[in-house]
């Protein structure tokens, strides 16, 4: 299978075989081409070369319909569900002839009920998707595939959004699925999961299969090197004495009753310190980040930065006061793709005397000189300050954001999912920059869904669930399993994601 996007070869002459009843893990770092390959298999994309055989018969390319009919089902990383429709509607879409004059809801209900009992995937068929938790939504996605009598189940990074306990539950489901003779393709870049769940492992690097091996006997280090192609070690934190308090968040509360509303957040960060916030998406992290970034001004409680109250709802004032901000979504929030690189680099301090005269006329000369310096300092690979920002790769765009956030030596850094979707090289770069900033005396708040990342990079960890933040204990004082339980809420209540 070969697939090109413009000049990029996303999949390069890939061959794979999948057997009945096995779990094949597809391992590769971000951007290695895993999702592309599966999108071809599921008919979202059409390959430039190559073919797919199911039970000896050629699958017609580029047709999800054909893939589904051949028994292929896919659980997408970003769930393909309609929030305002019910579970049953989401599952039965496309199962009946489009031109029939009525839907056979009763039969569908019965089939769904037996199926969910068979596989232990319980869910209310009449619930709206918007009312489900992330874990429940994933169950609907799996049921959707099973309902179409899938014999091959593709799961794309299924654990990224789950707590450790939910992941365990998912692995149990996979077991019951393969026991019934289905084959599973499990896509991940997390080595320990792959070792735990798969029978065979195919390692994908830069669009090509570099190795296919049996899980039995495979070693973590060996897989890591196969995946990246060289030994890349992610940086680890080394102890530093805690400095003076930098930022104090005191009883911050927002209105509303949903899971994204904050309830009495207390947290103090010191110089030379990285504090991690662990939690399942949609439990208030975004709200907290928005408040600290100055986007949201409606909250009660106080935030003090270096002894002075933090201005509310004024991002530029907050940046000027010494806050560096790395947003969660670099495309949607971080950069304006259609603008030039230098224009994006001045967006936070455009009204400063260095960049504009009287807050009116932009001095593009000064701005470009500064941009060139930042590009060099942060090793952004681009054609220069006047290049269009959207042409940058994910890693380079993140470096640009780092350049904007860190080059003024902020005393407090808000890093919200700073390495999501990056390849290993870029991950290591971003993490080292954060550790350097810590060494220089910055206080850093690291929000992440990846517990391994938090374990490796933080001095202390706090857990957020339902808008409540636990105390921040030194990293290592709590086990991953304990943190997982706290992420799920103390009483194991279900978490409601943001609508």
């Amino acid at each position: 299978m070969t697939k090109r996007f413009g000049t990029l070869t996303a999949n390069d002459a890939i061959s794979l075989t999948l057997q009945k009843g096995e779990v094949l893990a597809l391992l590769g770092e971000n951007g290695a081409g895993k999702t592309t390959l599966m999108n071809i298999l599921f008919g979202h994309y059409q390959a430039d070369e190559g073919s797919i055989l199911v039970d000896g018969e050629t699958l017609s390319p580029g047709s999800t319909q054909a893939a589904i009919e051949a028994g292929i089902g896919m659980v997408h990383q970003h769930f393909t569900l309609a929030d305002n429709l019910t579970v049953l509607e989401n599952i039965t879409l496309g199962t009946e002839s489009l031109w029939s004059w009525r839907q056979d809801q009763a039969a569908a209900r019965i089939k769904l009920k037996t199926m969910s009992e068979d596989y232990g995937l319980l869910v209310d068929p009449d619930a709206l998707i918007s009312s489900l938790t992330v874990g429940e939504r994933q169950r609907v996605e799996i049921l959707k595939a099973l309902y179409r009598d899938a014999r091959v189940l593709i799961l794309d990074e299924p654990t990224a959004v789950l707590t450790p306990q939910e992941s365990e539950r998912l692995f149990a489901t996979l077991k019951s699925v393969t026991d019934k003779g289905l084959a599973v393709i499990f896509i991940s870049h997390k080595l320990h999961e792959i070792l735990a769940v798969s029978n065979r492992i195919a390692v994908l690097r830069r669009g090509a299969i570099v190795s296919t091996l049996n899980t039995n006997g495979a070693k973590r280090e060996q897989l890591a090197e196969l995946m990246v192609g060289r030994v890349v070690t992610r940086p680890k934190i080394t102890p530093l004495p805690q400095g003076k308090p930098i930022i104090g968040i005191n009883n911050v509360t927002t209105k509303g009753s949903g899971a994204t509303a904050l309830r009495g957040i207390d947290l103090t960060l010191h110089a030379h310190e990285i504090v991690g916030i662990a939690g399942v998406a949609g439990n208030g992290q975004s709200t907290l980040a928005d408040i600290l970034s100055g986007i949201q001004s409606t909250f009660t409680g106080e935030i003090e930065l270096n002894g002075a109250p933090l201005t509310r709802g004024k991002p530029r004032a907050i940046v000027a006061a010494g806050v560096g901000r790395i947003p969660e979504d670099r495309h949607a929030r971080g950069m304006v793709g259609e603008m030039e690189i230098w224009e994006n680099l001045i967006s936070e301090d455009i009204r400063s005397p260095e960049i504009s005269r009287a807050g009116f006329l932009i001095s593009s000369k000064n701005a470009k000189v500064r941009a060139e310096r930042q590009i060099e300092e942060f090793d952004v690979r681009c054609k220069g300050p006047e290049a269009e920002t959207k042409l940058l790769s994910g890693g380079n765009m993140q470096k640009l954001i780092l350049a904007r956030a860190l080059s003024q030596n902020p005393s407090f850094i808000l890093a919200n999912q700073p390495v999501r979707g990056l390849d290993e090289g870029a991950i290591a770069y971003v993490q080292e920059q954060l550790l350097d900033a810590r060494k220089r005396g910055a206080a850093i708040l690291l929000i992440s869904e990846d517990l391994d990342e938090l374990m490796a990079l933080t001095d202390r960890i706090a857990v957020i669930s339902h808008g409540e933040l636990s105390s921040a204990l030194p990293t290592g004082d709590r086990s991953i399993a304990e943190i997982g339980l706290m992420m799920a809420g103390q009483q194991e209540q279900e978490r409601r994601p943001a609508a």
């Binding site: 413009g6 059409q46 580029g62 986007i295 004024k314 901000r325 304006v336 259609e338 009116f360 932009i362």
Partner: protein
Amino acid sequence: MIIEPRESVSLLRASLAPVWAILASLIICAVLIAWAGASIPTAYMLLFKGAFGSSFAIKETLTRSIPLIFTGLAVSVAFRAKFYNIGAEGQLYAGALAATFFGTGLITLPPYLMIPFLILMGALAGGALLLVPVLLKTHLKVDEVVTTLLLNFIVLLVVSYLIEGPWKDPMSLGWPQAASIIDEGVLPTLLAKGRLHFGFIVAIVMALLVWLMMRYTVQGYEIRSVGYNARAAEFSGINVNKTVVMTAMISGGLAGIAGVSETAGLKGYLTLDLSPGFGYTGIAVAMLAQLNPLAVIPAAIFLSAVYVGSDAMSRAVNIPTYIADVLVGVSVLAVLCSVMFSQYKVRWKA
């Protein structure tokens, strides 16, 4: 079929896009001309001659382009911020109402003050009219397209009421029209003979000012940011709502000036047929200009030439004048298409 962005778009390719669009529109309209039984080359030659064939024709074409430059600018500024102001027609009449209210004797100033004063009042009126849709959008998320469109009808009815009622000129022998603008407020003509007036210079200056603002000022930067990616603009500290309101004021103001210029420059008084849809044609102007304020000038002159030329053409070869409106409509669609194909390429494989 798969559509994917080109790695880079050359300046030539980008600037040729509207040319392709115009060619495509002319070809499509050629079908209608053929249907009307006229020879296509003759018809287009007549159109060209009608628009540029004599100094009188050229002056007429430029005169007709004045309101189109203003409404084209109004639309291009607004669309740049992804604020879909389809109400330039109404704002034009609001500007005309302001010119009539202040310019028919209420206030008398020497011409060098009176004219700027009327222009300012017209701009304020146009902006004020757009204040309703923009505040509804920023505060209540009411779609601005529908509200600006509906306001066009409302404003026209207000104009109709005023010029048939309280503002009706008693000297007009029963025609529904307002009193004439006083001499101090009338925009002077630029050339002997012909109707080309001072409004043309104001229009060119405005295009230049808008271009400078968009390119070199913090405010222009913020308008572009908000239009391209409002969430990123918000994150970087731009007050998105404030920027959209400001953009709307500029946009409505420019359209309002079109009304002043038509009332005080061309007609001399307000009537219900002051604008044969200049506000809507402004959308075509802005699209042909790819929202570039300087390119609005040639785009406006081109569409004005189509209108002026098609008048001459239809007289000579008996083609309904609506051919010009068809061409405007087709050009909006064609330019959308051609700009896309300059930025994307199509592969016939998923």
